[in-house]
């Protein structure tokens, strides 16, 4: 029955979230932040993928932004250079990214811990170097502009207002899918792998296969996010997919709580709001005549990573949730699914 109480509350929370999301572009107080919200939506999609890999199956991936980038560049190049229909390009991108993840997945996931981390990191940087150096296709470090908008027949997603709903539609879909998977047979298999691979195998779970499967899913999420990213900005360049970007995605996942699907929104939102709204202002405040503060964001991200990992390894989102839970013991007790 505790489970029922908890789920009741999660549904309530989800409902409130939904209402808020719908209100954003209409309420004059919030509407200026539509652009910000769009990025939050996109990064939530990437983050939730990483959460599935890191939080549930317990595998490190420091190359997540590579998948983000592959999706982005597939959409950009196909729809601009070879004017393929953007939706088709998006689909091809997702498929290709998934296939890529599948192929590299098997050898890479024979590695564990540190080696896995470094392998994914290396892969990520190699992909980034390719984005930067394959100038004739990618536009090189300069990037490429003039990517078409997504559109349904006559209806083009050519205003932030329209894209906001499109992107959050995708975002919520990915969240729902992830939620379903986590609480399914597959989800239990993944968490079992996280708990103990030997025990998992003894229960007939094909460990390496499931690792790769979830890796592929996260790659596809990231790829879709990438496509939406370029069709929103109508521009693509390599930098958003470099190593630091992968780290930022980890920061988001960690802040939200690695083993928490809905935490992904929290994580992405916290970091984007920090980076886009708060830190710039703080930097300006801290800026003195001859001394400029330009790296506050990096420093804050770093502190977040370290402190959260030391004090609330389950993530800020779950941490705060537990903190609240300590006041109202009945409501959110235990249960790692959320």
């Amino acid at each position: 029955m505790l489970a029922r109480v908890r789920s009741k509350w999660t549904w309530l929370a989800a409902g409130l979230l939904l209402v808020l999301l719908i209100l954003v572009p209409f309420v004059s107080l919030l509407s200026p932040y539509t652009g910000l919200m769009i990025f939050i939506g996109i990064y939530t999609m990437v983050t939730v993928g990483l959460c599935l890999v890191m939080g549930y199956s317990g595998q490190v991936s420091l190359g997540q932004s590579a998948f983000f980038g592959i999706g982005a560049y597939f959409s950009a190049i196909l729809s601009k250079t070879y004017d393929v229909n953007p939706w088709l390009a998006m689909l091809i991108g997702a498929t290709a990214t998934g296939a890529f993840a599948y192929v590299v997945g098997f050898p890479v996931f024979r590695l564990r811990g540190n080696y896995l981390a470094m392998a994914t990191l290396g892969l990520g940087i190699i992909i980034y170097i390719l984005f930067r150096q394959l100038g004739q296709y990618t536009g090189g470090p300069d990037g490429m502009a003039g990517i078409p908008y997504l559109s349904f027949g006559g209806f083009a997603f050519d205003t932030p207002f329209r894209r906001y709903f499109l992107i959050w539609g995708f975002c919520l879909a990915t969240l729902l899918i992830s939620q379903n998977i986590v609480n399914s047979r597959t989800g239990r298999a993944l968490r079992a792998i996280h708990g103990s691979e030997t025990a998992a195998e003894s229960l007939g779970i094909n460990v390496s296969l499931y690792k790769v499967k979830i890796f592929v899913l996260s790659a596809v999420f990231s790829s879709l996010a990438g496509s939406l990213f370029v069709h929103h900005l109508r521009f693509v360049s390599p930098q958003p997919f470099d190593f630091m970007a992968s780290v930022v995605i980890v920061v988001m996942a960690v802040t939200g709580g690695l083993a928490s699907v809905w935490g992904a929104i929290f994580g992405a939102a916290t970091i984007r709001i920090l980076g886009d709204e708060i830190l710039p202002r703080l930097e300006n405040l801290a800026t003195l005549k001859a001394w400029h503060v330009d790296y506050l964001n990096i420093i804050i991200y770093a502190l977040l990573l370290i402190l959260v990992m030391i004090f609330v390894p389950q993530g800020l989102f779950l941490g705060l949730k537990d903190a609240i839970g300590r006041w109202q013991p009945k409501l959110f007790r235990k249960g790692s699914k959320s």
């Binding site: 489970a3 399914s184 239990r188 968490r191 030997t198 025990a199 003894s202 083993a259 235990k334």
Partner: protein, 259 residues
Amino acid sequence: MSARTVLETRGLGRAFGGIIALENLDLILAEGKISAIIGPNGAGKTTLFNLIAGVYSASSGQVLFKGVPLNRTPAHKRATMGIARTFQHVLLFSNMTVLENVMAGQHPRSRYGFFEAALRLPKAHREEETISLKAKQYLNLVGLGMYADRNPLGLPLGQQKLLTIARAMATEPKLLLLDEPGAGLNALEKQGLSELIRRIRDMGITIILVEHDMDLVMGIAEWVIVLDSGQKIAEGTASQIQKNKRVIAAYLGDEEAIE
């Protein structure tokens, strides 16, 4: 006794680097019996389990399950074929509730995958229903029904051990390997454990247990195999073993004194 053999090993051996953990072991275990493997520490008991369950691959010889050689079969396939096990160090999933731990055990007995799960297709619904239903049954079997929503690590060791048995049972095995189920349990709990094991046997499941507690072993084991430094030094009924000179020399002598 014309019972069919469930498990057979032929010249089974395993070495780690130079150390020989198990050497040229021949076993034949009949269906529906409780057998115990005993022997001093480092005798190769757990190694044998790991070879049967497929955690290690054999360096020599082979394992046959219902006449099928398993050498090339990975651990997870063996579980699907009907070999289940518990672990000396319980290895419960702390990131799941008690019930979910058992539900995870239903894995090989359920079909629906990624796609159905992602979209919550009716198939997924139906299977989830049965999975949790069965899981609850197995929880009740070991008498942990009331703790379904707890975190497993919150339970006392005794109940954790029972939970691992429930989890293993959830895979609906033909052969159940119990690795020191009695360790760390008090007399009363051991009492219950013996009964549980018998009840499982009565469900037609063959059981092999590795155990140090002689009373427990002698109480329930219908067949006892004694290993010493990687070799089988004796096998027989409990009473035969207790009389066996080599066993007493190699094993009971010192081990019992400590007990």
